[in-house]
């Protein structure tokens, strides 16, 4: 291999065995499965309260030209948010602990595992966690009669993409944290992200501030899940997908590089 190729694609940055990291987490969480399950309830409670309260006050909302009741409008957004929550929970606090305090990655990097394996494994695990919440949420939605057609199953791969995106961003961001106090930044960012990603009202309601909403990855995720649930597909959805894919890849590469510079100095 020439030096030029090596620089673009360094051998330590090849992903070979990220699933080993996931195996380690399964061994840990076998004893702590309750913690995993608990994260699922927050968006569920939102859904139930929306259905009981707001849903009866607010009328139908338009999705892709189709009129849908308010709870069916909000539910896909909450599903997207639950995928985001699962991914963010695991890729920030837990990663900070393993990176700085438990030093799990130092041990892994002394084996054939490389920085890209570590980053990819952690992001994969966070994605799985997000996916578990999304599946649980979809089941509840179906039980409440909020799903529209079999197209709603497409919401799962979409939530995987949302999970991937937030897990990568979460992990990459966490590598820059100095300590536990920086975790407050995550909480501060998550709240507006959750509230203002066209989750509770259509983007048209934001008026001239719509462009801000469009920066939010969750907004693009919500748009996709909503379309899947209603089974209304349009070319515009490609743009949402592309936004999430590009952001995920960029954050993934940054994450692996950060593990390399932080732990292999």
């Amino acid at each position: 291999m020439s030096a030029g190729v090596l620089r673009i694609f360094p051998p330590e940055m090849v992903v070979r065995r990220p699933h080993r990291m996931i195996e380690r987490h399964i061994a840990v969480y076998r004893r702590q499965w309750l913690i995993v399950v608990s994260g699922f309830f927050e968006p569920l409670f939102y859904l139930l309260s929306m259905r009981a309260g707001l849903g009866s006050l607010v009328g139908a909302v338009s999705v892709g030209g189709k009129q849908v009741p308010y709870d069916a409008f909000v539910a896909p957004a909450l599903m997207a948010a639950s995928a985001m929550n699962g991914a963010i929970f695991d890729s920030t606090g837990n990663v900070l602990h393993r990176l700085k305090y438990a030093r799990i990655y130092d041990a892994a990097l002394a084996t054939p595992m490389g920085p890209a394996d570590v980053a990819m494994g952690e992001i994969g695990w966070a994605l799985i966690r997000g996916q578990i919440y999304a599946i649980g949420f979809l089941v509840v939605m179906a039980a409440l009669g909020l799903t529209n057609s079999w197209w709603c199953l497409m919401a799962l791969p979409i939530c995987a993409l949302i999970g991937l995106c937030f897990a990568s961003i979460g992990f990459a961001g966490t590598t820059f944290m100095r300590g536990w106090s920086d975790m407050d930044i995550v909480n501060t960012l998550m709240m507006p992200l959750f509230l203002f990603s066209a989750t509770f009202f259509p983007i048209a309601a934001y008026g001239s501030w719509a462009w801000v909403v469009q920066i939010s990855p969750l907004y693009h995720g919500v748009a996709l899940v909503r379309a899947a649930n209603e089974g209304v597909w349009s070319a515009g959805l490609l743009g949402h997908t592309l936004f999430l894919v590009v952001l995920s890849v960029a954050a993934l590469v940054l994450a692996a590089r950060r593990v390399d510079t932080l732990l292999r100095k």
């Binding site: 080993r20 041990a107 292999r264």
Partner: protein
């Protein structure tokens, strides 16, 4: 001579402007037990981390098994065992899980991981603690687990950074015995230590490092012959007077060294030197003639005792 297992040429490690390893040349042959000695901050761990392929050399060339860590890091790490200076055990896993999850990082099959875990628990005398949480182990037990874990992939090169620091004397002797057996099986050992007896016991060859450079190299015996005299006379005077007696000792033996608690006189014939001390009218509180050790070499070369 066969191709060396480790070949470092002009190896440099810098952290920002600070040079931790300053152009060292090292060759380790297969089957050898090789030691790095040196005071705190000499650059031993930095060197070990480069050899472990977890830290990138700033300059120079490094080959392990003839391979370049920059391009073949994962391949090299698959064949080495690493015991870092500070334990990196997984505190969220039990003792036995620490072993077999680590084995999975090396792509060992589940059955193989189980088999080796059982063997290594026995090796580390931790079979009874297999289900314990790591945090509940004593410091020495953690160290033993770290060492056991480093053997999960049956490495042909074992890198041990201060393996016995924190172990009680009995555990140290057990570990020396285990390391000696590994060596007899053909495992190449590279270790750092602050214990001269450990270096003398285990190492065929060693280097003394100071401020990032190698200041001496050889077998323990040859280093003692080269740098120290055959015997050492240790004198203790009343507290606080060592310095003033150092003057009166001038010319005695081949060299004198005043330490805070005692004065050392390097002489091939220690008894003769002691007689001379008495003839000069000095009355030390205690006097001891002993063979020179690696510790003396260390002191001569780095100007520091190991306690520093």
């Amino acid at each position: 001579m066969s191709e060396p297992l480790i070949r470092a040429h002009h190896l440099v490690k810098k952290f920002g402007d600070f040079t931790a390893v300053d152009g060292i040349d090292v060759e380790v042959q297969p089957g050898e037990a090789f030691g790095f000695l040196g005071p705190n901050g000499a650059g031993k761990s930095s060197t070990m981390r480069m050899i472990s392929c977890v830290s990138k050399p700033t300059d120079g060339t490094l080959r392990i098994f003839g391979l370049d860590p920059v391009t073949d890091g994962p391949k090299i790490r698959a064949r080495i065992g690493v015991v870092p200076q500070l334990d990196t055990l997984d505190t969220e896993l039990s003792v036995q899980e620490n072993l077999w999850i680590y084995g999975r990082f090396f792509d060992l099959s589940r059955a193989e991981c189980r088999r080796r875990t059982t063997e290594l628990l026995d090796f580390a005398q931790l079979t009874e603690r297999a289900e314990s949480v790591v945090d509940d182990l004593s410091g020495g037990m953690k160290r033993r687990l770290s060492i056991a874990r480093s053997l999960i992939n049956e490495p042909s090169l074992l890198l041990l950074d201060e393996p016995t620091t924190g172990l009680d004397p009995q555990a140290r002797h057990v570990l020396w015995d285990r390391l000696y057996r590994l060596k007899q099986q053909g495992v190449t050992l590279v270790l750092t230590t602050h214990y001269m007896d450990e270096a003398e016991q285990l190492c065929d060859r060693l280097v003394v490092m100071d401020q990032g450079r190698i200041v001496a190299e050889g077998s323990p015996r040859s280093l003692i012959e080269q740098y120290a005299t055959r015997e050492v006379l240790e004198l203790r005077f009343a507290a606080g007077t060592n310095d003033q007696f150092a003057d009166q000792l001038h010319g005695l033996g081949s060299r004198q060294e005043a330490l805070p608690d005692r004065v050392l006189v390097y002489a091939d014939d220690g008894e003769a030197a002691l007689q001379e001390v008495h003839q000069r009218g000095m009355r030390p509180e205690s006097a001891l003639v002993r063979r020179a050790s690696l510790e003396d070499v260390f002191l001569l070369l780095t100007g520091r005792t190991l306690a520093d």
